[in-house]
Symmetry: C2
Subunit: 273 residues, 2 copies
């Protein structure tokens, strides 16, 4: 039920099918409005070439994935992560991205101190934000599902992400991904609280059963998330940006043709989002 | 660091090795204080025989698993679930269990209405509680990890469980399982809020990586949960009940000898809890 002109496709959705150059061409030729770019694919393509192709094809970049990963066992490595985030800010600016997506990072190797990891995340974001503000690049914290707390991201609810935003001030907001937050009993109230700090809205679906913690996401409409309800809440805040389909699906969508994946995303954003 | 006399073993920890009768014998002979019983194993054994054996072996029953599963697609099935819960209350009383563990249930078949499922859970608990109060059986809501929201339990944080307790009144509390709640940024404050409503405390560990959503739990000390810290918070409320090891582990602990599993639980409650 969403406007198909709002569709962006996260390139991870066709990660196994396409290089970045191929994804840009395929999405644009299919009439998709936006793309979200991953930095490993960007490195293969080269930043200048990617910027050139994005402009040529008239695509909008809904986000650059991903910065973050702040917690590390020692100060030197933590600084290296911060430096990497500063570079990511510059890449996002060059690409004209709507925001830089931050997946904050989990426990350092050998650590059981999740509270300490969260402190490192706060400190890391604090070190990156001045540059992001000066560069005019919005930083979007993406709370990840609690099942990723150990390895990927110790920011696990929208409430927690917004508390961080409150603490850190201007220039930082949130990315709302239905996969990560659909279960949260406070979701509606926290989306309302986020208000104009929603910088990105990601969709896919939770499959029943889910057979892999990371790579078994569903296409919108194939799972149990009431996506139209969440979209209504997000739209209710005034968010009118792109809606990004991000589907990690090793056993299903990554094995299909890019044409079918893109066509299905275009259909489902109307019928299931 | 916990007193080994507080150890209870949930019989699911040796589910593949033992019938209920065998588990009772094995745990008691190893000097374990308590057992938590599953109703499918209880049905195989027979309630009278189980009651008899528990008394004979001097075991304490830390909980009966499990009641709940309230949401269903139609009123007839919802009533059947309530009736089953009423029977579970009587079984728990007969066994002298410390509490009846409620795993509330997820989405009914075909439903995407998690809010509606939560309403059914509230209504179901409300229908069971008068009988439980009259029978003197404490009902323990166990919030399950958000990755189980769709299929098993739509009560996913301690905060949400305590809100339900607040609403439903006397005779109901919570079971705190580190596996389900360790990631929660509000955990310490919600444990404090729970106070004397903590009816059960379950331990195991979160493995990195976790390869299965349901059956890849770790032995205490083998994962990334700071269990002693959570134990300190739980003990700080005045909870001095049993500490129950509950480890679903298809690839590891279920394949070892019962003797090794029990011995390791006895060691780890001292060194890792």
């Amino acid at each position: 039920m969403a406007d198909p002109a709002r569709l962006s496709i996260n390139q991870a959705t066709t990660r196994e099918q396409h290089s970045l150059a191929e994804a840009i061409t395929a999405y644009a030729e299919a009439g998709v409005t936006g793309i979200s770019i991953w930095r490993d694919k960007l490195a293969e393509c080269g930043l200048d070439e990617a910027v050139h192709m994005i402009k040529d094809h008239g695509l909008r970049v809904s986000g650059l994935c991903r910065a973050g990963q702040f917690p590390a066992a020692d100060a030197k490595e933590r600084q290296a992560r911060i430096d990497d985030n500063l570079e990511a800010v510059d890449q996002a600016v060059a690409l004209g991205a709507d925001c830089l997506i931050v997946v904050a990072g989990g426990l350092p190797e050998g650590s059981k101190d999740i509270s300490g990891a969260r402190q490192m995340i706060r400190d890391g974001l604090g070190a990156v934000l001045p540059h992001a503000r000066a560069a005019g690049m919005a930083v979007a914290i993406e709370p990840l599902h609690p099942m990723y707390a150990a390895e990927r991201c110790a920011i696990n609810t929208l409430s927690q992400a917004l508390d961080l935003c409150d603490e850190l001030g201007e220039g930082i907001g949130v990315a709302v991904d239905v996969y990560h937050v659909w279960w949260d009993p406070d979701l509606e109230s926290q989306i309302n609280r986020a208000a104009d700090r929603i910088l990105a809205y990601h969709v896919c679906d939770w499959l029943v059963p889910t057979t892999d913690l990371l790579l078994d996401r569903g296409m919108m409409g194939d799972g149990v998330i009431d996506i139209p309800l969440i979209s209504k809440w997000v739209d209710g805040t005034g968010y009118d940006g792109l809606i990004e389909a991000e589907i990690f699906s090793a056993k299903n969508w990554w094995k299909r043709s890019s044409e079918e994946v893109i066509r299905t995303c275009r259909e489902r954003i109307v019928t299931a989002v």
